[in-house]
Symmetry: C2
Subunit: 188 residues, 2 copies
Amino acid sequence: MGRWQPDARGRLAKAALELYAEHGYEQTTVAEIAKRAGLTERTFFRHYADKREVLFSGAADLEALIVRTVADAPRSAAPLDALAAGLDSVAEVFTDQREHARRRHAVITAHAELQERELIKLASMASALADTLRGRGVAEPTASLAAEAGVAVFKVAFERWIAPGEERPMQQLIRESLTELKAVASGA
Amino acid sequence: MGRWQPDARGRLAKAALELYAEHGYEQTTVAEIAKRAGLTERTFFRHYADKREVLFSGAADLEALIVRTVADAPRSAAPLDALAAGLDSVAEVFTDQREHARRRHAVITAHAELQERELIKLASMASALADTLRGRGVAEPTASLAAEAGVAVFKVAFERWIAPGEERPMQQLIRESLTELKAVASGA
């Protein structure tokens, strides 16, 4: 068990989410997660600080990806077009992750402390995107408003994507939400 | 001191914010807040559960006001127009509260735990507004997107309103942010 394990990180995350769903988040121990994944506790702690981090470690990667994509959008792209490119890149990462995302969401909505952490993650993303837009020369308050609107589109599309029975790809739901936001904004 | 005090609640809030600014939030005790307000600790606890609640007790009133105003908007009003009416009603309440709001904001941004609470407050407002829009017959995902956009406008306008040196009334900043959101949404 001490040797290198291909995708130990992914196996640990999968095992953790299964156990959180089966026995509850509080009741699950790191020892159980490691055992289910066929790995040692030591390996667990090489990848995650604790069992909560299994739920949130992807958030930083996601933020980095969307920020980089927005930063790299053509200079001529309007703020919301640059954000749309960023959201598209995120949607690609989520493909095939729907069941995992549903399990994760169920754990998070059942725990106030985890919901708070999720809100902080979204606020951090909005703040990073506003920074990125300012770096592209977008003035305030446009940068902050566009970033908040982009995160709102992501949030609403994500919630639709993980809804029971939903089968449409996330990219489609993001595009529909973006279209809907434009309709809302122009309708008032 | 045992007798009824006119606006004890407001005096306690003012005293608390002054002390948080002068000595720090952690260092301030309920006894000191009561003393500064010329009231007893017992009176403090009749109005607030603890010193944290002084910072957040207004949030529920604010949410109730905006929800009621959105619910009461003319049936013909588009979602964002109904939300704009709600935001206007909130702006009125904030008039003459700018210094208090600045002090409160300084305390909150200095404490991660208070920032989390503030994010929860905003998420709760978005959720309540989406409910209210659904109650007006607005379908999903329009209701959620409009509500999130409305909260984004509020958040950005509020941050501008309390910025150092800013003197324009909040109502004006809310209207400008709303116009800006429309421009962002139509520009992409």
